[in-house]
Subunit: 301 residues, 2 copies
Amino acid sequence: MSLLVTGSIGIDGVTSPHGQAEEVLGGSSVYFSFSATQFVPVRFVGAVGEDFPPAFRDLLASRDIDLAGLEVRKGSKTFRWTGRYVGDMAQAETLTLDLNVLGEAPPKVPAEFTDSEVVFLANTHPALQRAMLAQVKAPRLSVCDTIDHWIANERTELVETLKAVDGVFINDAEVRQLTGTTNLVTAGKEILELGPRFIVVKKGEHGVLLVTRDGVTAVPAYPHEHVKDPTGAGDSFAGGMLGYLAAEGSFDTAALRRALVRGTVTASFAIEDFSLRRMVDVTRAEIDARVAELLDMLRID
Amino acid sequence: MSLLVTGSIGIDGVTSPHGQAEEVLGGSSVYFSFSATQFVPVRFVGAVGEDFPPAFRDLLASRDIDLAGLEVRKGSKTFRWTGRYVGDMAQAETLTLDLNVLGEAPPKVPAEFTDSEVVFLANTHPALQRAMLAQVKAPRLSVCDTIDHWIANERTELVETLKAVDGVFINDAEVRQLTGTTNLVTAGKEILELGPRFIVVKKGEHGVLLVTRDGVTAVPAYPHEHVKDPTGAGDSFAGGMLGYLAAEGSFDTAALRRALVRGTVTASFAIEDFSLRRMVDVTRAEIDARVAELLDMLRID
């Protein structure tokens, strides 16, 4: 099935206990796409400024990513973020944030992308997420991500977006913030009542919870010794999960459960190095081997 | 195989967002024993004061627990603890702590228990843990728990104890404190180098990591909606795990992995109500049904 992503494209700077990277490619839709293209081609919608380095565009073009929806805006600047991780790297501390082109009018979904079947709306203003979704004629599966900022400041808009999508990615602190419920399973079920078919609660190094009307699946993160930069882990997870689902063409709970493991694995590679450095060279065979390893780990008598 | 536990027996008071309980039975060896007796009889070694309520002794005696090692000391008082959980209940806040009999000479392992094959040394001073272990002639499997206090204040003694045991239960914060290493897998491997065959890193609602020389197994916690009182979760986990292993009579990595799931399940019942209230009536059939549910959850294509 065709897979469309819309989200940020950024120029990042990251410092972690394992080193630093400056002026590197980042952004939610970029991390998503590098994972998803392990399974299916990606249709990419986003905007950058005229400062967007040609080398970054070449890097995107080197993957199975259709850049027909990449707008390069004259007179605009690309979104920039710098952040720092310390200690257990559970949370990024944002050092600088320049919205730039992300503060302008949103990009347009090209006509040839409007028949997309699977749609991922990476984090942005929830009203904008709905506006993007409305440009796709008849999505079979639509999924959004969100962050604490919209829960705190645009709750009404966010609830409207949650009603409009099939699935939601949200982290453990955010699901508690949104619902006021501390138990994550109960909180996930409360969000289901708004409309979505599934919720993926992201818990970083502790893995994910999938909550559907059929029940709950907890999958631990890949037990990793070599994490250099957690930036993009959530979007890499979403890319692996939705890329796998688009390749499978089925979205029942069994398929969602299988997809969790694929997302876990693509995220585990993304965090092994700064920016997309590891994702550039990871092979499908390496992904499949780690999927098999994780499935074996989980298969207990 | 015979299973011996030595640890605290307490009179607890607990407040959580779901209610409170006063003057209830608690203590590490008690929680351990209520879980372990789902699988094998338990040999119990510990001391209480003359204030220990007969009803509590009756409760212990009603399980398959051999109380030959329970010393009731004239003129002494039973260990007491009160604590409070707030929010996500991830951590107890201790309100009052009266060591009482735990500050006196340790209990003695009765002669008829000295042939015990599996030994659990619940948390106490690490030198005392070794002294207790030394009273058992030829344990086939010895496992200790510990806490941050001994890591901070009795590191040398603790390292000696870690050299003497086959397995260690320790939480995520403590494993980082002990090793100075933030990555939990790497930190677990560093502890293995001291001598133990396995480390179980307890992560509360996020489950556990088993680290052995064969590799790492991550098992999520049972995704629970009804947690009233997390007190004793770690000891209930240990009881289910070691009770299962003693019943199996084998301690290879495959057995350890199976045992993780049993510990996860006994702990999941222990936290459903205050003190031992749920453990008093949980049946082996309920345990087995939840084990099957958890194994199914983890079995993904």
